[in-house]
């Protein structure tokens, strides 16, 4: 099966790349190049695309900008996607991001895909999902399991600006999608007859192509081999045999056109079958390893804007004759939210690069990142809402985007895999990983933790359904060893050392409890204790990602990310989320982190690992910010 998304060899360490530093785009002067002494071509391409996209999206505070806050809030109130914005995204050829390079698109790196889509999610999750990502979630099954003709057709559709809708789930069965009843029965002449309903499907009414998850086995033979994935061209369907059902109104992503389908003895040709008959669950689980890895890294953009909006409020609003940002609680909340964003981005980085570097292990990491990141981002936004006070409830004006992002976050999180479904993927694998891998596993290659740089080609055939090893945990232990050794013996690193020690001690406890899990805890009926263990495990993975991102940056001699203070703050947050007693050396470095937040806010740079330039004028100090 042809499933390699490109044939570029691994270019390895970006520092070894043959290219000079150079500017990456017109505004490169404002874009720090972390460790980017020499960038390989792929990395340069990603940075250029990110910068060009941000430029297209323009100044968020400009009244006439279709990607500005005012226009996006209005579209959200109307429950529409702006026609003008969609046209601009089509002209930008955003769909090329979802099509493998060998089929004419830009897709060859999953971390790059998350980074390119992030600017759009900083503006509006409805556009992010509704214009584009939904098509990617559908197409990945075709890239992973489709034949040449299906891949070519899908690439042509997307590159021509068309849409694919994805219908895996059914409302009655949630993520227990093996229970799905939507059926595709062989029609006797090689094709299938579709029968049943699919509900709550994004773009149901306007997609040219559908990717459907259907029961293909006879009734009574239902199991993991009884479903198949079908790729259907809506233009070719007999008109009287199917219809689009009424639109659903949603709490968040209100602009998305969410509806359903109803089919009755609707004939589709034999070439609709993607992969083999009965291979649907396997194709779905493989596809999820990519989609679950990549979506959280996009969604992070919404939390960036939530934080930025609160900083804007807190620096311009006077209370008790001081700015809100003079209040210690507000300072701590803003600093902690930024730290949580860095924690989230670190695990997003590791998960997206793992798809290339550790495909045999991503079943666990994809579920972990899809579970943890939305949860941390939502908690951070809740805390930020307290700083915003009554302005949290206002739906327009300067701070109106905050409530939109807060409503959108849970929608994009639940969108294709709920938290419980992700935990249910992790839990059955924990006892075996604990026994086999957590004391003697092989650490991840350092490239996993680099914020840029080449990756081996994506090969979806190497994605397996159950992990045999756990390199992220092994990398936590390796980092602990390195910090205890002569190489990192400096006294200034004592806080990192103490925090990593605390995480390793927690790992030991989690391991013992995982080894003691009964067989009953492998199923969806697992005890609440097993779910709590999965939660703690994902936080340990996040801690490992943070400390290893920092170690990799130290090697490269970067600036902010090479400084031990951010990783001390990040690991302190992770220990807090774990509910661990904090070691004496723990420190959120609130003042220093706050200064970084304000610097990036005023200079228009992103609140993530990449510190990229944002569109719009520099933020002037507003009256109340000239305080003291």
């Amino acid at each position: 099966m042809l499933s390699r998304l490109n044939d570029t060899p691994c270019s390895g360490d970006p520092a070894e790349g043959p290219h000079g530093a150079g500017t990456t785009h017109g505004q490169a002067g404002a874009t720090p190049d972390h460790g980017g002494v020499g960038l390989d071509a792929g990395e340069r391409q990603i940075r250029e695309r990110v910068a060009a996209f941000e430029e297209l999206l323009g100044d968020p505070h400009e009244a006439g900008n279709p990607f500005g806050n005012a226009a996006l809030l209005e579209a959200d109130e109307r429950g529409e996607l702006s026609v003008e914005a969609e046209r601009a995204l089509a002209a930008f050829r955003l769909n090329d991001e979802f099509v493998p390079r060998e089929l004419g698109g830009n897709l060859d790196r999953i971390d790059g895909l998350a980074r390119v889509l992030r600017p759009l999610f900083r503006r509006d999750a409805s556009l992010g999902l509704g214009y584009g990502v939904t098509s990617f979630l559908a197409a990945i099954a075709v890239w992973a399991a489709g034949d040449e003709a299906q891949r070519g057709r899908t690439a042509d559709l997307l590159r021509g600006g068309g849409r694919l809708a994805i219908a895996y789930h059914e409302l009655a069965h949630g993520n227990d999608f093996v229970r799905n009843e939507f059926s595709a029965r062989p029609d006797g002449s090689g094709g299938y007859l579709l029968d049943g309903r699919k509900d709550v499907i994004n773009n149901a009414g306007r997609a040219e192509g559908l990717v459907l998850f259907c029961l293909t086995a006879p009734p009574g033979q239902r199991g993991p081999r009884s479903h198949s994935v079908l790729l259907v061209d809506t233009a070719g369907l007999p008109e009287d045999a199917w219809r689009v059902t009424d639109r659903y109104r949603t709490v968040g992503v209100r602009g998305c056109q969410v509806a359903g389908f109803s089919f009755e003895r609707c004939r589709v040709p034999a070439d609709a079958l993607v992969g083999r008959q009965g291979g649907g669950v396997e194709t779905a689980l493989r596809s999820f390893q990519i989609t679950r890895s990549v979506v959280p890294g996009m969604v992070l953009g919404g939390a960036d804007t939530a934080l930025r909006t609160v900083v804007r409020f807190a620096t311009s609003r006077e209370l008790y004759r001081r700015s809100v940002l003079d209040i210690p609680h507000a300072q701590a909340t803003v600093a902690s939210a930024f730290t949580d964003l860095l924690v989230c981005d670190s695990i997003c980085l590791a998960a997206t690069r793992a798809v290339h570097l550790l495909p045999e292990q991503t079943s666990v990491y994809a579920a972990a990142v899809k579970y943890l990141v939305p949860k941390l981002l939502q908690d951070a936004c809740y805390n930020l809402s307290i700083v915003l006070g009554a302005n949290f409830y206002v739906r327009d004006g300067d701070y109106g985007v905050f409530q939109k992002h807060v409503r959108d976050l849970p929608m994009v999180s639940l969108g294709h895999a709920g938290s419980a479904a992700c935990q249910a993927t992790i839990i059955p694998q924990l006892p075996r990983l604990a026994r086999r891998s957590w004391t003697q596993g092989t650490p991840a290659p350092e490239a996993l933790f680099r914020t840029g740089g080449g990756l081996p080609a994506l090969d979806t055939d190497r994605l397996v359904l159950a992990a045999e090893d756990d390199a992220l945990v092994a990398s936590l232990l390796a980092a602990a060893d390195r910090l205890e050794g002569p190489r990192e013996a400096g006294a200034e690193l004592a806080p990192v050392r103490a925090l990593v020690r605390a995480l390793v001690a927690e790992l030991t406890r989690v391991r013992e409890e995982c080894l003691a899990l009964g067989p009953h805890d492998r199923t969806a009926m697992a005890s609440p204790h097993a779910y709590a263990l999965a939660d703690r495990y994902t936080l340990l993975l996040a801690g490992s990602a943070c400390v290893n991102v920092w170690l990799a940056q130290r090697q490269d001699g970067g600036d902010f990310l090479a400084d031990p203070r951010w990783v001390v703050a990040a690991l302190t947050r992770v220990c807090r989320h774990l509910g661990l007693p904090l070691p004496e050396e723990a420190d959120e470095h609130s003042e220093w982190m706050l200064a970084e937040v304000l610097g990036r806010y005023h200079e228009g740079r992103s609140f993530d690992l990449y510190d990229t330039h944002l569109a719009g004028p520099l933020v002037d100090d507003e009256p109340a910010a000239a305080r003291h």
Binding site: V178, G223, A424, R435, A524
Partner: protein, 88 residues
């Protein structure tokens, strides 16, 4: 139906015990001909069975083995063959 060999019976007994643990049902409640999924064992949980088999018997199998041999009867018979063929 061919007679069940002692080795196959051993696999069956082990799987019955295992499944009764997964499902919290008495062993004599488990029918070897009923698919795992009919007992409420979801497809993702069934993926963990291959690891247990590997640990107990040293047989290296695909994670999807319990999907392709979805009853105790079918899986036990397959394990006999897998064991005699060496690695599968």
């Amino acid at each position: 139906m061919p007679a069940v060999t002692p080795l196959e019976a051993e696999y069956r007994d082990w799987l019955v015990t295992r499944l009764s643990g997964y499902l919290r049902r008495p062993e004599n409640d488990i029918n070897v001909c009923i698919p795992f999924s009919e007992y409420g064992m979801d497809s993702v949980a069934a993926l963990s069975l291959f690891g247990d088999i590997e640990d107990a018997f040293g047989l290296y199998l695909e994670p999807t083995v319990a999907w392709d041999y979805p009853t105790i009867e079918a899986l036990a018979r397959f394990l006999v063959r897998a064991g005699s063929d060496g690695a599968l």
